[in-house]
């Protein structure tokens, strides 16, 4: 009798486990979420796994160093033949090597099938193409500009500048009040680059800027020297928090938190960082740097989801991306989807007024230029950073810097 019961029990277990043991597909999801973002994404992943019980999502985050360390990690996993299935990436030249090495799955068919082309603003979709093929799905539309301390401005009778000359006036007034105009962090180069990019756009104008980024015209020309000159003047005038060349970008926020500096170039993620660092975002305002050109462009870039060509679970990956980029999902989890590229998704404007302000701009018709580190591959970009650092340190004059970078660009073109 007992053995019969045992046998029946065992059989039931086997049957039951058979039903449950449909093979779970596990997809690896590589991203750059920092601590707070990862927390915000937990419920999104849970919701997806609840809606798709046969798919498990494992999130792997590499944060903080921007486009410096995360691509290294991606490269390692791809070189190993065991890549993450879905991965986050910036666009432009950062994605190019991966695409060129055949590590990214083209998604034209998927776009057509899922009707994704209408889900995002056109500029985000087209920026994620290469050689006519669609390689990425827009995740963020990031616009960057000056976040500033409203209280420091108010105390010194300063209003948002509308021209470059007014901006210089703002900095002079702040300097007179013993406050640094802006704070920046030079480790890895890309945070300082945001300022340099603005000076290039302001000095050279939209058309020449684009041609410079495409290496179609020489960098050794007057407007570039002018741009570097403006950069140098900000340093010589004491408008930037000094000794920043090895300060990590995140650390550059601290002087602004402590009221020693008034402005910092950041994007919509900054509002979340303020909350995380226990700062009151009501103290902050935002404006786009004035370039004195018509149209007045701003620095912006899409961020994307890609699927690894070596992934063994591409269908599950597509399902996952479809879920996380849909307006319904994003509306349900606003904390995880600030600065979304999905049309119609705006952050809660009462809770996040500044991100809302930026999203309005990003989802509008106002044209944007890419940050230089998405125009040049890393090897050439490191030369760009070298020139920018050398000018800061006074090792190169603006004219010498422009000349040196042109030499490097020509050597780079000759090699490739």
């Amino acid at each position: 009798m007992k053995s019969l019961i045992c046998g029946a029990f065992a059989a039931a277990m086997l049957l039951g486990s058979g039903a449950l043991a449909q093979d779970k597909t596990t997809i690896r999801f590589a991203n750059t979420f920092d601590g707070p973002s990862a927390e915000n994404w937990e419920p999104v992943l849970q919701a997806f796994m609840a809606a798709h019980p046969d798919i498990e999502v494992k999130s792997e985050s590499v944060a903080g160093s921007g486009a410096a360390v995360y691509p290294d990690v991606l490269r390692t996993s791809m070189a190993s033949g065991d890549p993450a299935d879905v991965f986050f990436l910036w666009g432009g030249s950062i994605a190019k090597p991966f695409i060129d090495a055949g590590q990214v799955e083209p998604l034209d068919a998927v776009f057509a099938e899922k009707g994704w082309a209408t889900r995002f603003p056109a500029w985000t979709v087209s920026r994620l193409q290469q050689d006519g093929k669609q390689y990425g799905v827009p995740f963020h539309g990031q616009g960057m500009g000056f976040f500033y301390r409203k209280d420091l401005f108010a105390q010194n009778g300063i209003t948002e500048p509308k021209t470059y000359a007014e901006l210089e006036g703002v900095c002079s007034k702040l300097k007179a009040a013993n406050i640094y105009c802006a704070s920046t962090g030079g480790k890895f180069g890309w945070h300082v680059m945001r300022l340099v990019d603005f000076f290039i756009e302001a000095a050279c104008g939209p058309d020449v800027h684009d041609q410079l980024n495409a290496l179609k015209v020489s960098w050794d020309q007057p407007c570039v020297v002018d741009a570097y000159g403006r950069f140098k003047s900000w340093i010589d005038n004491g408008w930037l928090v000094p000794d920043f060349l090895n300060v990590a970008p995140d650390d550059a926020r601290i002087p602004v938190y402590q009221g020693q500096a008034a402005m910092i170039v950041e994007g919509p993620w900054f509002e979340g960082a303020l909350k995380q660092n226990e700062q009151d975002s009501a103290d902050y305002g935002f404006f786009m740097p004035p370039t004195d050109h018509e149209p007045s462009r701003y620095s912006a870039f899409p961020e994307q989801w890609m699927i690894a060509s070596g992934s063994k679970h591409k269908e599950a990956a597509v399902t996952f991306i479809d879920f996380i980029s849909s307006a319904d999902t994003q509306k349900a989890f606003p904390d995880a989807f600030g600065a979304s590229a999905t049309i119609g998704i705006k952050p809660d404007c009462t809770a996040n007024p500044l991100s809302c302000q930026i999203t309005d701009i990003v989802q509008s018709d106002r044209p944007a230029y890419p940050p230089t580190d998405q125009a040049f591959e890393k090897e050439l970009m490191d030369s760009f950073f070298e020139v920018q650092d050398s000018i800061v340190a006074g090792k190169l004059t603006p004219a010498e810097g422009a000349k040196l970078f042109q030499e490097r660009a020509e050597a780079w073109k000759a090699k490739s």
Binding site: D72, L245, S390
Partner: protein
Amino acid sequence: MHPDRQPMAEIASNSSAAVNTRARSRFTRNTLTPYLFIAPAMVFYLGFLIYPMFVSLYTSLFDWDGMSPLVEFVGLNNYFNALFVDEVTRQALLNNVWWTLGALTIPTVIGLTLALGLNRNLPGTVVLRTLFYAPSVLPLVAVGIIWSWMYNPNFGAINVILKSSGLGFLAGSWLSGFDTALPSAFATYTWGSIGFPMILYLAGLQGIPKDYYEASRIDGANVWQQFWHVTLPGLRESHVIVLSLSVIGGFKVFDLIYTMTYGGPGRVTQVLGTWMYFQSFQYYHAGYGAALAWIIAVIILLVAIPYIRHMSKN
């Protein structure tokens, strides 16, 4: 004499001869034995150290991105570019040379001084010795993070202490300055590396016979002369080790630079170890990176081979 009764000595020598023959014959029967013992180590060593070494020698002769098939043979072009064309390699090599010269002198002098001080049987010697050695056992990544933070120009401990103790004029840009970045990183290295020379010299000092000092004192030598003529020469073994290991370490340096400065500002703190990593794993010039790695290896081998030969002769 009775034929069966041999002198004890003869018996002894006969049996030991018998023992020797027996041992030797057992031994010669198993000439494979030493090789069998060595085999496991050899498998790992050949497979995961020697073989990769020679693969990268081979790939250094190609223009290779690290992923595609090896097709573009360029001979010694990579080495030529590294030594004569690439300015960054020259800067990196120079940085390694400075770093190594520093490593040869500063931690060793400090270590020797500490050893001299600790060699006096004072109370708490063991504790002090531990305290000075402790930084050496920490992961370099942690050391790099701690010191980067201390070097922060605004709120790092160093500038804060200098400013608040009236020495504000000494406060500097440390890792952010073109001229101060490498020395600052080196100072961190020194913090973590005085322990080993100190221990080595302590052991060496304890090996110098006390009579030498007695003899020289009788001859009228003062403290300084004793140090110069007895102590220093007596530490010759220790010097050899410290010198060789400092050079080897100085050219291999990676962890601290990667963590603290990432080669910057600009490229002023690039060293061969990090430049090789950037070239191979970020710029996709794996062939060039391999050439850089071999340049590091050749330099180290040139210095280390005398030490190794010396070690193997004992």
